[in-house]
Symmetry: C2
Subunit: 149 residues, 2 copies
């Protein structure tokens, strides 16, 4: 278990604005980007003051990796995507966050990375609720404790 | 130790063409991109048939994470960069590879991701040799066995 989770932590307002919550894994909050161009999760470790992946202690890095892998498997199962893109960039929003994006050879940006290519496309409400529910169930079943929401 | 390393493995020709080798860590080959716009490492696990991070078994994922963290620390020390970008995309070259890129607020693509923004800029020979030597020494000192070249 990683100590200090949620203590003095709050989600960066830009990430809050651009996403809807899927649930909390033991370390990271899992968010779904409000962009129907690509099913797109963002994982944010709930520890204050993190900018770089290497700011995390080693056991927390390993925990985050397990949660990234669980999120990637859930997203792949839910979307039957062609490729996963996983990235920690943080050039614009400094709070450490990890993108896990489902890509299709037919999507709006393929084969380029998604950032900056298309303006976000709103989900239809039913589509977003259905994807959120699928992802929440898959992550719960991944064996990672938690997934509170 | 991850079993099967180097067995039946070869580097994708596109990655070979776009980079120069820094050395081998226990799991990954470390490459320096031939692009002086941004000091840019690429880590390629030396196991055949990998496309996604989640294709690796769990212990190999953790080993790769340790090597990514070591590469990131070495790159940050060698370049005194403002930000690290870490990403596994693979939309164009299918062989699993992880980008570890040193970003500066004054670089050619900031704050955008680097992909597709600028054509690669050749290093001056002395500059490239000096960076390669620094990175090799720092990775050797990281305590990860190996770093053969």
């Amino acid at each position: 278990m990683v100590s200090g989770v949620t203590k003095d932590w709050s989600l960066h307002p830009q990430l809050a604005q651009d996403t809807v919550p899927v649930g909390d894994m033991p370390l990271a909050r899992v968010l779904l980007a409000r962009d129907a161009n690509y099913p797109w999760l963002i994982l944010v470790p709930r520890l204050p003051g993190l900018v770089e992946l290497i700011d995390l202690e080693e056991n927390a890095q390993v925990q985050l990796l397990g949660e990234i892998a669980a999120a990637a498997r859930a997203l792949k199962t839910a979307t039957k995507c062609d490729k996963l893109n996983i990235a920690a960039l943080g050039n614009q929003v400094p709070q450490l966050h990890v993108h896990v994006i489902a890509r299709r050879r037919t999507d709006a940006a393929w084969p380029q990375p998604v950032w900056g290519v298309k303006p976000p496309l709103a989900y239809e409400e039913g589509q977003q609720t259905s994807l959120l529910n699928s992802l929440h169930q898959l992550l719960k079943r991944s064996g990672l404790a938690g997934m509170d929401r």
